[in-house]
């Protein structure tokens, strides 16, 4: 089924349309959400909520736009909300005093993160996922969308509502940080000459 037909079915609120949409995109969205939020159960929730929102707001979909980037944009927003909620629940707010005597609030991130072993069964996969979760959100989403989900720069710019130049710089920065974090894994897998 081509995208145009699928969009027409969705706009008519046909169940077949939603079934087809889920068949095509559910695994990609679950994978993107898992690599982004770091928990498989949360990732499934993100994907489900994404499809429910598609159903709710399908009238707002512009016919010229790409369905794939629209879906990823919704999934990204849902995932960001989930991360914010988790941050509020699991971080401690530390109030420090800076040099000028002003009180500064700092968020202490949760350090007890463990990748889902049902998904990442190997040690290497777990270490990669741990490294991904250490990246700041803006770099993580860029790297996941480009290097794991295989979206183009234009598509990522569309999903994240940023300029292509910003996408490129975020991907580069994210990759550099990830390489630093995965230095040991590189050495184990590819030997020292890779560094």
């Amino acid at each position: 089924m081509d995208e145009q037909t699928l969009v027409e079915l969705l706009l008519e609120r046909k169940e077949d349309g939603f079934r087809e949409l889920m068949r095509v995109y559910k695994d990609d969205l679950v994978n993107f959400a898992y690599r982004f939020v770091g928990s498989y159960d949360d990732a499934v929730d993100v994907a489900q909520e994404t499809f429910v929102r598609v159903f709710r707001f399908i009238e707002t979909f512009q016919r010229g736009a790409r369905l794939k980037t629209w879906l990823y944009a919704i999934a990204r927003n849902v995932a960001l909300s989930m991360l914010d909620e988790r941050k509020r629940r699991m971080t401690t707010r530390l109030v420090e005093t800076d040099d000028e005597g002003q009180e500064v609030e700092r968020d202490v991130p949760d350090v007890s993160y463990m990748p889902d072993r049902a998904v990442d069964s190997t040690i290497v996969a777990q270490r990669i996922q741990e490294a991904l979760m250490k990246l700041p959100t803006v770099y993580r989403e860029a790297v996941v969308l480009r290097d794991i989900e295989g979206l183009t720069y234009e598509e990522i710019a569309d999903v994240c509502k940023i300029e292509i130049g910003t996408v490129k710089s975020r991907i580069n920065r994210g990759r550099t940080m990830l390489q630093e974090l995965l230095r040991d894994v590189y050495e184990e897998l590819y030997g020292k000459q890779s560094q």
Binding site: R13, E15, F18, R19, M22, R23, K26, D27, L29, V30, N31, Y34, R35, Y40, A43, V44, A47, Q48, F51, V52, F55, R56, V119, D120, S121, T122, V124, A125, I128, Q129, D147, I148, N172, R175, T176, L178, Q179, L182, V185, Y186, L189, Y190, S194
Partner: protein, 174 residues
């Protein structure tokens, strides 16, 4: 019939131009990026949706759709009869509400009975800050009318004691 392919040897000027083109080189960190992407693609499994994912979402969507339809039905009654019935009903309910509200919330009417006036004595403050009641007209008595004879008979109020100048007063000494 063999196909003729253009060869750069036949066009030496083209070859010169091509030589002048700068060679694009790989950016710094190119190999590391390739290794990273290889690492992510080879060692990171693709998470998939669990079984029953679609049914769960669809049941959610069905619930939402039925509530949406119910709302739409409530929001948009199509026949003019329904509109009229709703209007009449609203007017009746509004009227009852207005009547009961005005009945309950209006102030209680009491017949006002002014208190019986009390005659208070008129008081005029004097300079000495002592308030003296001014007698009413009834209380005012006409000054006694004296005849000239009575006036003559009136005893003098002058002191009877005679005081001689230069002679000491014995009363003072006492």
């Amino acid at each position: 019939m063999s196909e003729h392919k253009p060869d750069n040897h036949e066009h030496p000027e083209l070859r010169d131009i091509q030589r002048q083109l700068p060679r694009a080189t790989a950016p710094i960190g190119f190999e590391e990026t390739v290794l990273l992407r290889r690492l992510l693609q080879e060692h990171l499994p693709h998470a998939t949706a669990p079984e029953g994912f679609e049914e769960e979402v669809l049941s959610c969507l069905r619930k939402e759709e039925s509530s949406r339809r119910r709302l739409r039905r409530l929001r948009l009654p199509k026949s003019p009869r329904t509109w009229i019935a709703i209007g009449v009903g609203a007017a009746i309910v509004g009227g009852i509400a207005y009547y009961s509200a005005s009945k309950l919330a209006s102030p209680q009417i009491e017949h006002y009975q002014p208190p019986t006036p009390q005659v208070l004595p008129l008081v005029i403050p004097t300079d000495s800050a002592i308030e003296e009641p001014v007698p009413t007209r009834r209380q005012q008595q006409a000054p006694p009318v004296r005849t000239p004879r009575e006036t003559l008979k009136q005893q003098s109020t002058a002191p009877t004691k005679r005081v001689t100048p230069g002679v000491p007063d014995h009363d003072d000494e006492e």
